[in-house]
Symmetry: C2
Subunit: 417 residues, 2 copies
């Protein structure tokens, strides 16, 4: 079967599954999630055997170490996947919630009720745990899922989806609630992005290249996730010890993730006191420093920052540092270079705190805290399907409700217009 036929068939099946799944009870979905978790554990050997095939193929193709690490499965990782599903089972079911409603003057009762999106397409890279995560969150929120993982993980993903699909069916879920695109042909992604008839939303998860491809080629609505050029601005009124602690955490605690700081902005009047110890701490921690001319005067390790640095998500132990004349210049810089993910100010000035939170256009705007908190679990959402950097539908950390829509249920007694 060519991939066009495969996609069409999987789209049709997903649509049928979604229609049935929309009315399945929370109890039945939760039982299925537990059954899938059990099945992952009892099929660990088969999944690991498939993963070995992926790992061998990857080594033959000179795939870099960090990617190999993300691809590799072991018993502990499969246990973690199963545990994740059990946690999703314990979350409240978002479906059926009455969001608002009331009686109109003509007697019509209108209720706005939360419903699933329908069919969710996930396009992602080499991490097989995304397969389980996405399938679990979509099932819980009543959506059928079509998964397209990276070709490096095709054997692992095929084995995992087989386990999930079998366990779901045995737990009385509709057939085809979770499907994997079997072909590794790259053109299949482009074809998937045009399946408006069958897919309600596509969520890409992965590097900037993948996300750009999806955003620029999809005719299906997309939730853009990911890129974070996050700033921390240290105001002149800041508690400088607090500022140093927050900035260090924002950069160093996990530099590869999207909520890590990429640029540190420092008020000119705080620079003399703040920068020397701060830069030394970063330097000691192995962070490469790139700064404006003023910053360079404060530490010998600071290389000159280029124009491109201000717009770069390093996702690494690299930091750009700029001394600014004050809040105004900080706001201008952020408006120009922010990817609207997470931005922070450290300040003791009430007016500046208020102004920063109101004027900065980003999903998460912090006062006196690390940008690293931008995360579904930290926000109390109980789960995370990704972090949206667009403004439509979902913004910031996305929990289960990001995978839902709503409909109006209108109850009348013969009203006409």
């Amino acid at each position: 079967m060519d991939f066009q036929a495969e996609l069409k068939q999987k789209g049709e099946r997903a649509k049928i599954a979604a229609r049935k799944l929309a009315t399945v009870s929370a109890a039945a979905k939760n039982q299925a999630l537990q059954a899938i978790a059990d099945a992952l554990l009892s099929n660990t050997a088969a999944i690991l055997a498939a993963n070995v095939l992926d790992m061998e193929a990857a080594k033959g193709r000179n795939i870099p170490g960090p990617l190999l690490d993300r691809l590799k499965l072991d018993e502990a990782r499969i246990k973690a996947m199963a545990e994740g599903l059990r946690q999703v089972a314990f979350l409240p079911d978002p479906i059926g919630e009455v969001l608002s409603g009331g009686k109109r003057p003509n007697g019509l009762l209108i209720q706005k009720v939360r419903v699933p999106l329908g069919v969710v397409g996930m396009i992602y890279e080499a991490r097989p745990n995304v397969t389980v995560d996405a399938a679990g969150l979509c099932l819980k929120s009543g959506n059928a899922t079509i998964l397209r993982g990276g070709s490096e993980a095709i054997q692992s993903n095929t084995a995992i989806v087989q386990v999930i699909a079998d366990a779901a069916r045995q737990a009385d879920m509709p057939a085809d609630v979770v499907q994997l695109i079997a072909t590794t042909d790259r053109e299949a992604v482009n074809a998937m992005l045009k399946l408006n008839e069958y897919i309600d939303v596509i969520i890409p998860r992965g590097g900037a290249g993948l996300i750009k491809t999806v955003v620029h080629n999809s005719t299906v609505p997309v939730i853009e996730t990911g890129t974070g050029v996050c700033h921390t601005f240290v105001d002149v009124s800041a508690d400088l010890q607090m500022a140093q602690t927050i900035a260090f955490n924002a950069k160093v605690s996990r530099p590869a993730v999207c909520n890590a700081m990429e640029t540190l902005l420092v008020h000119a009047k705080a620079a003399d006191q703040f920068l020397p110890p701060m830069l030394e701490q970063f330097h000691q921690a192995g962070v490469e420093l790139r700064g404006c001319p003023v910053t360079q005067r404060h530490h010998r390790a600071v290389k000159p920052a280029t124009q491109a640095d201000w717009a770069t998500e390093y996702s690494d132990y690299i930091l750009s540092v700029k001394v600014v004349s004050g809040l105004e210049e900080a706001l201008e810089h952020i408006a120009k270079y922010s990817t609207k993910h997470s931005e922070a100010i450290v300040t003791s000035d009430y007016g500046n705190a208020l102004r920063f939170q109101q004027e900065v256009d980003a999903a998460c705007v912090y006062v006196n805290a690390s940008t690293r908190f931008s995360d579904g679990f930290e926000f109390g959402l109980g789960a995370e399907i990704g972090i949206s950097t667009q403004k439509l539908h979902a913004r910031g950390p996305m929990g289960l409700t990001a995978l839902t829509s709503f409909k109006y249920m209108i109850s009348g007694q013969g009203q006409i217009r």
Copy 2:
């Protein structure tokens, strides 16, 4: 200036305007809306003179009557536009509303706050009143607007936007909150659809062709509006007099709009009693009838329906009619042909009412009422920017909140992760 340069310049200006407009007070925005209403009235002569140029050009190009009617302005229509703006001024400002929030275990205070989308692109056809509507609703919700109206209305729209922009500036709004694409080059639409750097969302308003073009070519997120293949299902338990009243209203009260019924589904056991008077009433009202074989037996005027009929939005005095074996077949038919706009059941059976509302996947699902109520004003939203037929972001009638996003404001005391 070529249109690429024009678009880029207007995009940059809109982005600057949006940043300022996001923090303008409700009182100031309302004053500006009143000032714009006043200015439309006091510039009636200039707007009508521009409209005469459009009308003359249109007549020279053999443009059909209904389109000419939509294009034509007179004093009453300009008064109605101004009145619409005053009504928008009286609506509550959605911006700044705290949607949810609370304190996390680590002491972080997280608030989810409603904010504008930013820059809204509107692409529409020949009705100059959309220019005023869109500008007013976007201004109220704190968004900068880039308008692209139909080329037939270019003189009218240019005059109207000039009046709006001047009045807004005099009322201390940021410059460039409302801009019109001046070129009538069709390629400008395609270029606008790729302006991801400057436009946060594009809303198309118009016929199926325009909407399809926008959905299939835009890399900017789109809110799809419009197409309605709406059904009414008459159950065997229905009050048949009520059913006849509702079905007649749903088809005949305004056939050209998207919430009008296109297909009537009738329970086989109700057909003998229900169909003859119903079909006769439609026939008397000049409605062309296209039916399944069973329907044809009930009235001489019923022509055979083809497969294509079930999927067609007539937007006219044409109705397709099908006799179905019961609720199950009705649900199947609707799942297959519905555009997910508005669907209705007429029934006295509690279980069937519940099942229809829960299982039908559409923005608005009615029991015992006409689909014609799918409308922002009828739903009590106070305004309408269009009716969304997608599930992402907004669904069904869209009021001011459909033009908003949110952000998380996080207030800490030095928390790190």
